[in-house]
């Protein structure tokens, strides 16, 4: 049983006109097995929250805390956060020229498991993870995210989620850019990871579509750098009908 606790998180970014505050005190607690959906208008700071938890160097933490099972996440390097059990499925996965998917996955698995996976079982493991997400085995020899379509990049993220078995996953708009079939396939991947590893999920999305497959326990409305309302699954339906006007005008 793991707990990710975010308390009063304040984050700013450096711009040409000085530092700009993006997160203005975020409070959120996620436990193993729970799924929290975050919905909010463009530019409200959802990705900033995701990146800040993962440790992207662009963001400066100006206040608050993030703890995973009591350990100070903000004090850890990016790779230490992954080793502690955090995973970020990115809104825009990064291309890494010249590095093959299979080399990348094996290097990551070696780092996270503390030893190189046995070659024979590893090949089978990767193959079945790819098959489960309907990915052509040829992806293993391609360079990481290079020339992948938007949807292929998202499948690749969820394949990593299944292989690397984190405790907590932040999915930043994993559903954007997926066709109807891919949405179902990717959602099933997330649900398998939940079932197999008692994964806690922070799911950032603009659409209720994905919430039909991945059932949230909590829905949070994010606006202007913080959570402005919390509720159950029905809050998502309300947002879809009414938009964010009630929250941004305040």
């Amino acid at each position: 049983m793991s707990v990710l606790e975010i308390r009063g998180l304040q984050v700013s970014v450096d711009t040409e006109n000085g530092s700009v505050e993006i997160l203005k005190g975020v409070d959120l607690t996620i436990k193993s097995g729970e799924t929290h959906a975050i919905m909010g208008p463009n530019g409200s700071g959802k990705s900033t929250l995701a990146y800040s938890i993962a440790g992207h160097p662009k963001y400066t933490i100006t206040g608050g805390s993030v703890a995973l099972d009591g350990a100070d996440v903000l004090d850890m390097s990016v790779d230490e956060r992954a080793k502690a059990g955090l995973f970020l499925a990115m809104q825009y996965p990064v291309e890494v020229p010249g590095v093959s998917v299979s080399n990348f996955l094996r290097t990551a698995a070696t780092a996270l498991r503390g030893e190189a996976p046995k070659l024979r079982t590893w090949v089978a493991e990767v193959k079945s993870a790819m098959e489960a997400l309907n990915m052509d085995p040829a992806f293993a020899t391609r360079n990481v995210n290079e020339g992948f379509s938007g949807g292929e990049k998202k499948r690749h993220e969820i394949m990593q989620l299944e292989l690397l078995k984190p405790k907590m996953a932040i999915l930043d708009e994993t559903d954007s850019g997926l066709d109807v079939d891919a949405l179902r396939i990717v959602s099933e991947g997330v649900n398998r990871a939940k079932a197999n590893n008692d994964l806690g999920v922070l799911l950032i999305t603009h659409y209720t579509r994905i919430l039909k497959y991945i059932k949230p326990d909590f829905v949070h409305v994010f606006a202007n750098g913080k959570i402005v309302e919390e509720g159950g699954p029905d809050l998502a339906d309300k947002l879809e009908a009414n938009g964010y006007a009630d929250y941004v005008s305040k």
Binding site: M90, V96, G98
Partner: protein, 360 residues
């Protein structure tokens, strides 16, 4: 032993061709003060297949050179190490040449000829290793329809100085591909040059170099399109790490008035891994006719991409390993062109080691 003659103009460092080179570190190769030893260090590494011969003989140069060191070599060294591939021979396994001896207190003046008969196909890998002071005039002649992959590996020890011209003369419908790798030595200066003598010829000059603390590596291309309908591609990738690591890439491509239908593109990309290193990159395209298929060049110099490092690290990979992956990935495109797993892995490990030593 003899002292190099000084009939030729000694470079001062003000000449265009020498303006980047640290002459003081050339150990007298450039001004004739180096004592010439009698070494013929180039040897075959394994037995030669049928259709291939290697011998020392007197040969006159294939092409003129305006490089003073090449002129001196020709004035002093008459024996040429000659690797010859018979016409129509198709040699599947790479032919390895390596260095048997070296010294820093005396210089070796080396002349090498590689010749392919018509329609011959071969891959030749030259391993330049050890501690040596070496000046080399290497000429390659490709008869009509022949095809050569020429891999030149500068894996010298730290104090070596190597200055060379690798000149290919490419005849009708012949295909020349070179992969020049420079990862070792104190001063390495190579002139990969190509001239086409008949239409339908093509050349691909690929290269990688990785200079760390204090090393100077210069690659000075010259591609002469003197006939119609020839094609050339140049793609060199370099990385630098550590104080006073310095690389120079010059890409001179000349399309003469007669060279209608020319198709050429040259590219140089540099990765500056630490502060204190310097990469000079000078593409230079001279076009004397408008009737061409295409001509272009690009040159970029960048640093580690933070987004790439973040992505890799977010999967648990340490910063050190993430950098290693990115650098390997950067070079991978060209290293895999060698087509020999053992050599490729050896080079990648050398690159890992250089990266580690430079503390990048």
């Amino acid at each position: 032993m003899s002292v190099l003659t000084t009939n030729y103009l000694t470079p001062t460092g003000r000449e265009e061709a020498w303006r980047f080179t640290p002459l003081k570190r050339m150990r007298g190769l450039h001004d004739g003060s180096a004592i010439v030893g009698d070494r013929n260090s180039l040897v075959t590494k394994t037995g030669l297949p049928k259709g291939v011969s290697f011998s020392r003989e007197a040969l006159s140069p294939l092409a003129v050179s305006d490089d003073v060191i090449i002129e001196r070599i020709r004035g002093e060294a008459f024996d040429v190490a000659h690797l010859s591939i018979d016409a129509h021979a198709e040699i599947r396994e790479p032919i390895f040449l390596t260095r048997s001896a070296g010294a820093l207190d005396t210089a070796e003046l080396s002349r090498v000829r590689i010749s392919l008969g018509s329609h011959a196909i071969a891959t030749i890998i030259v391993e330049n290793i050890g501690e040596t002071l070496l000046a080399e005039d290497l000429e390659i002649s490709l008869s009509p329809g022949s095809s050569l992959t020429f891999v030149s590996l500068q894996e010298f020890d730290a104090k070596s100085v190597y200055t060379a011209r690798h000149h290919a003369v490419v005849d009708k419908d012949a295909t020349f591909k070179s992969i020049t790798v420079t990862v070792g030595g104190d001063v390495v200066r190579i002139l990969p040059t190509v001239e086409f003598t008949a239409p339908g010829a093509s050349a691909e000059l690929l290269g990688v170099y990785f200079a760390t603390t204090g090393q100077f590596f210069e690659h000075r291309m010259h591609v002469d399109h003197a006939v119609p309908n020839a094609k050339s591609r140049v793609n060199f990738k370099g990385a630098l790490a550590g104080r006073d690591a310095h690389t120079v890439w010059i890409g001179d491509v000349l399309i003469r008035a007669v060279a209608e239908g020319t198709d050429t593109y040259e590219l140089n990309r540099n990765l500056l891994l630490t502060d204190g290193a310097r990469a000079d990159s000078v593409p230079n395209l001279e076009i004397e006719t408008g009737e061409i298929v295409g001509a272009g060049h690009a040159s970029t110099t960048g640093r580690f991409d933070d987004e790439q490092l973040f992505y890799l690290m977010s999967r648990g990979i340490t910063l050190e390993n993430a950098r290693r992956l990115v650098v390997r990935g950067f070079f991978n495109e060209i290293i895999t062109e060698i087509g020999n797993e053992e050599v490729q892995e050896r080079l990648m490990e050398r690159i890992d080691g250089e990266l580690e030593r430079a503390g990048a």
